[in-house]
């Protein structure tokens, strides 16, 4: 991996054994505490991303049209979009693009406005009441700068996680999807300007819980960011207006319909 150029992390779900080494390694490197959770009838715990959980394996029992059973594992976390709604919406500059093309988070600048929480099409940024800040994966920016792979990639035993140049990873992803065959497909390069996290999905994207089929930057954001923000720079009231307009045009952010294995939104284990 070469320093300081656009990088892409590839998540090959067809090689993942859901050992959750990545989930724990992430907490270790980022010094996030383990919180008390409840067993809610799933291997997926914490049940969802939360302020101390920037990546997690989603477990999903799936029966396809041919009545074949599959246990699907998907590592969830920040997709590091090129056209990143969170960066667009962040008023303080806490969320920003890095030299690697990833989306970094400067926590000291975060004002806890939660704009990014509603803007993100993948529902990645999570808010902590205690610190009044949002948290999410920064693809181990400190490690990338030292030419080390992210903690999750480093911990992966099976080769399901890898990182490299965008070109290299795209090639690898498409070759892999082709080799696996069937419904296997590449997810991530066709929207929001291309994500810096790619999936090789075993099944069609529509099969997976909590994975948007056509993620996009909300239209309201386009209006706000590209048309009204110049005004907002002139008048502080413009920010309020923009937020209000966002709410009027788009309404509150609603999650995708929960799948059978997805927890209720009230179960943010231990938050």
């Amino acid at each position: 991996m070469n320093n300081k150029h656009e990088v892409v992390k590839l998540i090959d779900t067809t090689l993942c054994t859901a050992c959750r080494g990545c989930q724990v390694a992430c907490k270790q490197w980022n010094e996030m505490p383990g919180l008390r959770t409840k067993q809610w009838g799933s291997y997926q715990n914490p049940p969802d991303l939360q302020w101390n959980t920037w990546t997690l394996i989603r477990f999903q029992e799936h029966v396809n049209e041919k009545k074949e059973f599959n246990w699907l594992f998907r590592k969830d976390g920040c997709m590091h979009c090129t056209d990143a709604a969170c960066v667009k919406v962040c008023p303080s500059g806490a969320l920003h693009h890095t030299e690697f093309g990833t989306v970094g988070l400067n926590s000291s600048r975060c004002i806890g406005c939660k704009e990014c929480v509603s803007a993100c099409p993948f529902e990645v940024p999570r808010y902590s009441r205690e610190t009044d800040k949002i948290y999410k994966c920064d693809l181990c920016y400190s490690r990338l700068r030292s030419d080390e792979s992210p903690a999750c990639v480093k911990s992966c035993l099976t080769g399901a996680l890898s990182i490299g140049s965008k070109e290299q990873m795209l090639k690898k992803a498409y070759a892999r999807a082709k080799k696996v065959g069937g419904d296997a497909n590449v997810y991530g390069d066709k929207f929001v300007g291309g994500t810096h996290v790619l999936y090789v999905l075993q099944e069609k994207a529509s099969v997976y819980d909590s994975l948007p089929r056509n993620p996009s930057v909300p239209f309201s954001l386009f209006v706000w960011k590209d048309m009204l923000k110049p005004l907002a720079l002139l008048a502080a009231g413009g920010v309020l207006a923009g937020s209000f307009l966002h709410y009027i045009l788009h309404g509150p952010k609603l999650p995708d319909e929960p799948g059978p294995n997805e927890p209720g939104k009230d179960e943010k284990g231990g938050e």
Partner: protein
């Protein structure tokens, strides 16, 4: 393991049965996935669909405890469809040997059974010999008394219908596995099997493994790259514990523990030193006396002499016919016969079956000493649930131990690899390596004995334990050298074949077990470790060479593998009788220009067809693989018996419902509920990736506890519907021995089985939880449910098949 972890990448077909490799041996599974990437088929046969199944080509569910029936059906399939690797079977196994006329098998029983003692006399389980003492053979394999024909008759009873009805596996699925796996019975294909506790934890555990050995010999998969039978051992260190004999029935290096009737060393050596008259059999165990005497020398050093039988009489002896496994220990403790207990690095109040009995037994102790890095449910039994501390008279001690990364030493992995590791940090507080604790306690005992005397004083006073360094701390290197072997006096070793004479000085390391001596001039604590040091003192366990000329992942200069750095056992069987590899693509060894080239061969002798040649299975008396295996407790051919507790009242194979050779424990807390309406569901216990064994080390770790926070039971969605249980609800799982409360995990990954025409549900739960921590729930160990019963050869408990009921709370 016959092979090693990396070798799995060389396989064409990997049968994972009795193992949840992806969850419990994640690093090993990496190599299985590499094989899959190259086109190998991965098959998972397991009652439950797990994270392993998700990555295999297919998953085949079978009812817990029916593995012999499943594999017996495979033997029948191989034999009736002519799938054997004939040249291999003929030359390298005892298929052509003739079974003695006294041997019989009738209605589930072999000849020689004593129903009262539940024990066999093995007198009739013999192979016939010619007048010159060489085994009789019929190379046409047509003699009705030859092993091959006897095998065929025995397993012809394991028809698809019968096997399907016992195991609950559909005939379609049986055939799918049989076809794919037996396709490896050709010279250029390799199939391997990976098992773990899913096979060991049965009353028929050893025989399940034996059945697979027969399959692998019939297919010519033993001794080859990508083949073999691979016991997946992990952090609980089964490999290290068996190599070093942390078991009651063996001494280090798999030497036999003497029993009381073997009154002299001569008796003992005569009994355990095999004799073969076949010039083609290397019969390597004819060197047994050298290994044993060197072991005694390691214990007693200059106190051991030829005159005092090298201290043989100082060794403790087993009572004949008695066993001393953990279950026996707690049985006796429950009976009030055991007064003191050292519990080192274990949580037996959670890990031993029939917890109620175990915890009651602990109350009978006068004293208990724990050595561990964390407190656990065993050390705290006196204030456990339902125990009144005021009524417990046991004096308890907990000595803080150093964790693995806080000490130097060797670690063994399943591939028999011994790797040296270095200390990464100091142990906190008063923590000491358990080796140091043990030596210091023994030193105090010796001093007391020297001063006051006491029973059995000689072995204690004469024990040589000089393993502390200059600062009085445990010196792992000193121990390892002693295990490897050292010369106790200047010795000249002559090799007549090579015409060489080598002189070794007193104190030098023995460079391999071939140099161990019978006269007391060498001391070796564990002969299989001999060779882990060079004569110059080089610690080969610390080697880190990354070269691999074979390209097959052998890495001969990475650490040390016993025996003699051989990476694949029985590797001479990878070549034909002339020393030519069966498969040039998987060449680990070849006889070339008068010598073996490649991996370290099983002995220097030429291949069997050449002059002075020897058969490949050198540790077997006859030099060949044992399809007929008379060493087992329950018979020379494995037979299906039901678990101690099962859903059936009759064994579909015979009138013997359960393994006739297992010991039945009879205390008032050893209750059994077989085919009972009260306990209608088959149950199995296991672990999860996120916790380790009883969780005594991992429940304290917040990240791991967050990922798997509390006890749960996995229940098929159909059973859950029947019982009105919804996902995430609290339930009670009970056996006749006890019950546990936990969370229901309703899943499609458990499916009901059709057994003898009836629907049988199976459930399962992990044994990773306990009452001590975390404290905010009612969790306790799943071993309240399991019965005190074990395998007839090893006494490994039957954690994997028993009967329960499930109720909504």
């Amino acid at each position: 393991m016959t092979n090693h972890y990396i070798d799995m990448k060389n396989s064409d077909c990997i049968l994972i049965m009795g193992s949840n490799a992806a969850e419990h041996h994640p690093m090993a599974f990496r190599w299985m996935l590499k094989a899959k990437e190259k086109g190998a088929t991965l098959i998972h046969v397991d009652p439950r669909y797990t994270r392993t199944s998700a990555r295999c080509d297919f998953h085949v569910p079978l009812r817990s405890g029916t593995d012999i029936a499943f594999l017996g059906g495979m033997i029948n399939y191989i034999l009736s469809n002519d799938k054997c690797f004939k040249e291999y079977v003929l030359n390298y196994t005892n298929a052509s040997f003739i079974v003695g006329s006294g041997y019989k098998f009738e209605d589930g029983l072999f000849s020689g059974y004593d129903a009262e003692k539940r024990k066999y006399s093995k007198d009739t389980w013999v192979l016939e010999k010619e007048s010159n003492g060489i085994p009789k053979r019929d190379m046409s394999l047509n003699d009705p008394r030859c092993v091959f024909q006897m095998l065929k008759t025995h397993y012809s009873r394991y028809t698809l219908d019968k096997v399907s009805s016992i195991t609950g596996v559909t005939k379609e699925n049986l055939l799918k596995v049989y076809e794919v796996f037996s396709a490896t019975g050709v010279p250029d294909k390799a199939g391997t099997e990976c098992y773990a506790l899913g096979w060991c934890h049965h009353t028929t555990g050893s025989q399940i493994i034996r059945t697979m050995s027969i399959v692998q010999m019939l297919l010519g998969n033993m001794g080859i790259a990508g083949g073999g039978i691979n016991a997946m051992r992990g952090e609980p260190n089964v490999q290290g514990s068996t190599d070093q004999a942390v078991l009651y029935n063996i001494l280090p290096g798999y030497l036999k523990m003497p029993s009381a009737s073997l009154e002299s060393i001569e008796h003992y050596l005569e009994k355990y030193t095999p004799v073969s008259k076949d010039p083609h059999s290397a019969n390597y165990y004819s060197n047994y006396p050298k290994f044993f005497v060197s072991f005694l020398m390691a214990l007693f050093d200059d106190k051991a002499t030829k005159e005092n039988s090298f201290g043989y009489n100082w060794l403790p002896k087993l009572d004949d016919g008695k066993h001393y496994s953990t279950m026996h220990l707690f049985d006796k403790m429950y009976d009030g016969k055991v007064k003191g207990y050292f519990c080192v690095g274990a949580d037996t109040a959670n890990s031993t079956p029939n917890t109620r009995k175990v915890r009651k037994a602990l109350e009978n102790l006068d004293w208990l000493v724990g050595e561990n890095i964390f407190n656990n449910e065993t050390y705290e039994f006196w204030r456990g649930p339902g125990v009144d501390p005021k009524k417990i008279k046991t004096e308890c001690f907990l000595l803080p131990a150093a964790a693995t990364m806080e000490k130097a030493g060797s670690q063994s992995n399943s591939g028999r690899m011994i790797q040296w590791k270095y200390k990464a940090a100091e142990a906190p507080g008063d923590g000491l390596p358990v080796g140091e604790i043990t030596i210091k306690i023994m030193k105090a005992v010796k001093e007391l004995y020297a001063k006051e005397g006491g029973p059995n004083a000689e072995p204690i006073l004469n024990l040589y334990w000089d393993y502390l360094d200059r600062n009085g701390h445990f010196d792992a290197l000193k121990v390892s050298k002693r295990l490897n072997g050292v010369f106790l006096k200047d010795t000249v070793i002559e090799d007549k074949a090579k015409g060489t004479k080598i002189e070794f000085k007193k104190g030098q390391c023995v460079p391999g077990f071939g140099n161990l001596q019978l006269d007391g001039s060498t001391a070796s604590g564990n002969w299989v470790h001999s060779g882990s040091f060079g004569a110059d003192g080089e610690n080969k366990m610390a080697k880190r060479g990354k070269d691999d000329s074979t390209g097959l992942g052998i890495f001969p200069n990475w650490a040390y593998v016993w025996p003699v750095n051989r990476r694949i056992m029985y590797n001479r069987a990878s070549c034909d009788v002339n020393g030519k590899p069966w498969d040039p693509k998987r060449k680990i060894l070849e006889w070339k220009d008068g010598k073996w080239v490649g991996d370290v061969p099983d002995g220097p002798w030429p291949p069997p067809a050449l002059e002075g040649g020897k058969y490949p299975f050198i540790m077997q008396k006859d030099g060949v693989g044992s399809i007929f295996g008379p060493g087992m407790a329950e018979g020379p051919f494995p037979e299906h018996y039901e678990p101690l507790e099962g859903p059936l009242t009759k064994n579909p194979m015979s009138s013997q419902l359960i393994n006739p050779a297992i010991e039945i424990f009879k205390s008032d807390l050893d209750k059994i509920a077989r085919a009972s309406e009260k306990y209608p569901y088959v149950c199995t216990t296991y672990s999860c990736t996120e916790h380790w064994c009883t969780g005594a080390l991992t429940r304290w770790q917040a990240w791991l506890l967050e990922a798997m926070p509390e006890a749960y039971a996995e229940i098929g969605d159909l059973l859950a519907k029947e019982k009105g249980i919804r996902n995430g609800e609290r339930i009670k799982v009970s056996s006749i021995r006890g019950s546990v409360k936990c969370v229901a995990m309703v899943t499609k990954r458990f499916k009901p089985f059709l057994i003898e025409g009836k629907t049988v549900h199976q459930v399962g739960l992990p044994f990773n939880y306990g009452w001590l921590f975390p404290k905010d729930n009612e969790d306790d160990t799943a071993n309240f449910l399991t019965p005190t019963v074990g395998d007839a050869n090893t006494f490994c408990p039957e954690y994997k098949a028993f009967m329960v009921n499930v109720e909504k709370l």
